[in-house]
């Protein structure tokens, strides 16, 4: 079972940023439970029935989650060691910031060409993705490996922690790269 974390400030954005991820899991008959980041409890986070966690994205104008980073301390907790986490867009920004990364202003909206230098959640090489962000990240390269970028390496698009099962994608795989979400959920 997957624990989905909703980071949207606006209720209506659930339909745009969370429901499409839920639909991908539902179609693949993968059980899930969705909880808002402000309401998620330790009991849910540490519950063994939730094998993996997905942190979904939110809208271009929504930066509330960035002002509430203390609510995401669990991303780094050793008690969660071994529980894979995938952060999408805002979710990747949260992961990067929790692991000493830096946020930088960078806007990409729409179809974007991304180059994966190594296989990442089933994807390799040049790939078209859907982007929707006003911020990107610079990661601590002692902790994270960069797997993909856009604009000749200018904008980091996919990362994985070097020692943990913690993944991040800046683009929205729920739009054009649904198979990546399934790869994350199904990989052993």
């Amino acid at each position: 079972m997957i624990l989905i974390i909703n980071i949207c400030k606006e209720k209506l954005h659930y339909f745009e940023f969370v429901k499409p991820v839920e639909s991908i899991l539902a179609k693949a008959k993968i059980d899930f439970k969705t909880v808002h980041y402000e309401k998620v409890t330790d009991r849910e986070l540490f519950n063994k029935k939730f094998k993996k966690i997905i942190i979904c994205g939110t809208s271009l104008k929504d930066n509330d989650y960035l002002a509430n980073l203390d609510k995401f301390k669990w991303v780094k907790l050793s008690e969660l060691e071994g529980k894979p986490i995938l952060g999408i867009c805002g979710g990747m920004q949260v992961i990067s910031l929790m692991f000493d990364g830096i946020l930088v202003e960078d806007t990409e909206i729409g179809l974007t060409e991304v180059f994966f230098n190594k296989r990442f959640l089933g994807i390799e090489g040049k790939t078209k993705v859907y982007s929707l962000h006003n911020n990107s990240v610079l990661v601590d390269d002692r902790q994270f490996e960069v797997f993909a970028s856009s604009r000749q390496g200018e904008c980091i698009q996919a990362i994985k922690h070097k020692y943990k099962e913690v993944y991040g994608v800046l683009f929205h795989p729920e739009v054009l790269n649904k198979e990546m979400i399934l790869d994350f959920c199904m990989r052993k």
Binding site: E10, K11, L12, H13, F15, E16, K19, P20, S23, K27, S59, L60, K61, D62, T107, I109, G110, L111, Y130, L132, N134, E174, V175, L176
Partner: protein
């Protein structure tokens, strides 16, 4: 407590109307509808059949309609859309835009860019929705939606005026299996007009229709009151 003030990019078809309904259901305050009237029937951005009847639909919802005309040339359409949104922002103090985008990255990303530039929230509550589930929701929520245009084989003039109901869903699912027709018409296979829904104070009645077309491309202009 009333939520954020929003304008709906409104075509009169099922997608923009259902998005408006979802927003209202979640306590957003819809303060105006925004329609771009394209003079180009092959518009890149806008749903064109029966759009002049949007005024009657706006009246049925008790909402003001912000109107912007466009010649329908590819990039000029976007400038006209931006003008319409600016007008709505100035006149109705909207803080967000609601669209009926389902899957079109071309359409959605252009509206996102305009909203980002104008510092407005952008809501796409039907984004990536499962088409069959969507039509079932329309039926369940008592949307009276008719087909006003067909533009793909094997659809023909017999589909004009058909209501989206269980029978329609069954037939369109079969055409989806056989010919790949998108169940919600997202590929431009068909277009729709809303005659009634929970947002309307009274249902609209068709007073006149004008059918034109040939083969697998037909339009039905409707007059309503």
């Amino acid at each position: 407590m009333a939520g954020m003030k929003c304008g709906v990019l409104f075509s009169g078809g099922k997608d923009s109307t259902y998005s408006a309904y979802l927003a209202a259901e979640h306590n957003y305050k819809i303060t105006c509808l925004i329609s771009v009237f394209s003079e180009n029937p092959e518009s890149y951005m806008f749903h064109t059949p029966s759009i002049t009847q949007a005024e009657e639909q706006a009246k049925a919802m008790g909402l003001p309609l912000v109107i912007q005309k466009t010649q329908g040339k590819k990039e000029a359409e976007l400038e006209d859309l931006e003008k319409a949104i600016i007008k709505a922002k100035e006149e109705f103090n909207i803080e967000g835009i609601i669209t009926g985008a389902l899957q079109s990255i071309y359409q959605a990303s252009r509206i996102q860019k305009i909203c980002n530039k104008l510092n407005l929230e952008c809501f796409n509550p039907l984004w990536q929705i499962d088409a069959e589930q969507y039509l079932m929701e329309l039926i369940k929520n008592k949307f009276k939606v008719i087909i006003t245009g067909v533009f793909a084989y094997p659809l023909d003039s017999s589909w004009l005026g058909r209501e989206i109901d269980e029978g329609f869903l069954k037939d369109i699912k079969e055409l989806n299996k056989k010919y790949g027709i998108h169940i919600a018409g997202e590929g431009g296979e068909f277009e729709t007009f809303v005659l009634d829904c929970p947002l309307f104070k009274k249902p609209l009645e068709i007073t006149n229709t004008r059918v034109s077309g040939s083969g697998n491309s037909w339009r039905m202009e409707v007059e309503v009151r």
